[in-house]
């Protein structure tokens, strides 16, 4: 039904009603409110409620108790899980941020000087970003595999170097998952950094040049301070993305060897959908939520206060 038809066919009274209706913001925002309410707000409230119960995924009988909270938080596995999460998230955030910035700086420099291959590099990085998580895990398993077809080890063998137990050594596996996650996620940081670099006022560099600043001085005293807000916002976004990632790890290591790469999101997934422990999973979901929000607020507190225009 086209709005023009409404205008033409309806009697004047309802036309003023339509006009008043359409002139208020609420009807326009209503669909978003409904969708967010049903699919975000209600479930989140329910997760909080469930963490105070002993609910399971299969049984319907549940009682309110603090037992699940103390059980979940005192679980002997939890410190290992949190440690694995810290390595995975911390490493991904640092790695993706630094690499994303480096690629963006290089691409911009390359564009300015007309170097060959800048567009190819940018596009390839972005292609890795579009690869579904599950597929990313499968791809990296073929690279890290210790079977004959494993790419990295067969290269090492060709060069007569000792092979590495990429995925079966508990000390190595976390680094392997980290590398695969940096591969998938760097493009996002690159896009954000690229946009931020483009928006820096070129006259700042001209002034720095006049003052005789070297390239590295320009980077540390002009570029980095100008990027501060973009870097922090980017850190918030990639932290949250990484805390929530588990599909790539499921296919790459399944959380193993042992629990070496079992990050909290994978742990929650296993607890709820393999052990059917709904309340325990809810407690840990809330913990995940608190971790992401906490980190987001810490980063956000370093953001420069917004200037009113």
């Amino acid at each position: 039904m086209s709005p023009i038809a409404i205008e033409a066919d309806t009697p004047p009274q309802s036309r003023t009603f339509m006009r008043r209706f359409a002139g208020a913001p609420l009807p326009w925002i209503m669909p978003v409110i409904i969708v967010i309410g049903i699919f975000y707000l209600y479930p989140v409230i329910d997760v909080f409620r469930l963490s105070f119960t002993n609910a399971t995924l299969i049984g319907e009988n549940q009682q309110y108790t603090f037992g699940s909270i103390s059980n979940a938080l005192s679980s002997p596995q939890l410190p290992d899980i949190l440690w694995a999460t810290l390595i995975f998230v911390g490493g991904s955030v640092i790695g993706q941020q630094i690499l994303g910035l480096a690629v963006a700086v290089t691409v911009i420099r390359g564009e300015k000087r007309g170097l060959f291959g800048t567009t190819i590099l940018r596009t390839t990085a972005l292609v890795a970003w579009v690869v579904p998580g599950i597929a990313g895990g499968i791809i990296w398993q073929m690279l890290f595999s210790e079977a004959p077809y494993g790419a990295l080890n067969s290269i090492l063998r060709l060069m007569h170097m000792p092979t590495v137990a990429w995925l079966s050594d508990p000390a190595m596996a976390p680094w392997s998952t980290l590398i695969s996650n940096i591969w998938r996620g760097t493009a996002f940081s690159m896009v954000v950094m690229y946009a931020a670099l483009k928006s820096i006022d070129p006259s700042l560099y001209e002034a720095a040049e006049v003052d005789g600043a070297t390239a590295s001085q320009q980077f540390f005293f002009v570029t980095l301070p100008q990027l501060r807000a973009a870097i922090l916002v980017n850190m918030i976004l990639i932290t949250i993305q990484t805390v929530n990632t588990f599909d790539a790890i499921i296919t790459l290591t399944g959380g193993g060897p042992g629990r070496a790469t079992e990050v909290i999101s994978l742990y929650v997934f296993n607890i709820v959908f393999r052990n059917y422990d709904l309340s325990g999973g809810s407690v840990l979901s809330v913990l995940m939520l608190i971790i992401s929000l906490g980190l987001a607020f810490i980063y956000a507190s370093f953001l420069p206060k917004e200037e009113e225009q």
Partner: protein
Amino acid sequence: MSGRTGSRLGDAMSYLFMLVMFVFFAGPLTYLLSMALRDKREVYRGAARYIPDNPTIQNFITVLNNSYFPIYLWNGLKLAALSGFGVLIVALPAAYAFSRFQFRGKGLSMMGLLLFQMISPLVIMVPLYRYMNRLGLLDTHFAVVMVYVALGVPLATWLLKSTVDGIPRSLDEAAMIDGCNRFSVFWRIILPLSAPGIASVFIITVIAGWSQFLVPFLLLTKNDLMPIGVGIFNFRGMQTDSSIQLLAAACLISVVPAIVAFLSLQRLILGAMTSGAVKG
């Protein structure tokens, strides 16, 4: 060191870095292709047969013939495309309102939307699973699409708002003076002029839907309803080391549509993302 040799050195270092990065980003995908084109014997040659002696497309034929793959592909496409439309229907009016209306709590609700973006799908899937179970919506594509839509709406609203912000208000005002009401301004001015932003949000949502694993994995149990993401996960579980070339072919089949969709609209997508990122 003179300026000229300095920038020569800089160029050389740029090239070196670009080469390393290119190998890092493209290497894994080319190795996947290499594996997918090998026969059984060449798989065991590892990186020594990076370019296979006897490239074959037999693996792709096997995968597409002997399994549910065509169904997975179709389901994946259907779910992703429907969620793209759903996201637009929900987010476009809101983006218009956030851009053009002044009202109390606007900034707060925009921030609130971003907060929801931070919530892991894992957190909301626990209650949603029970909820859908009670409503009898498990094993329906409807439920899956609705959850995809919800997951995509916060970011889409932000991106579309910045698109609408880019349309001069004077156009709205001129149309209103000519007797248009808000609906017709939205329909006749805002929608056509936001076409590039709409296209990029659509494609971003479709690619996100194509990559989804968790939501369909939990809400669907029947094999003929599964989209590609879950399909390939299950397919992987059935393979052994000796059929790794089949897994590679299957994986490539699941990756290529997303890459093609992205590459064909790359400029649009990056435009929407960067304008959203810079303006906040």
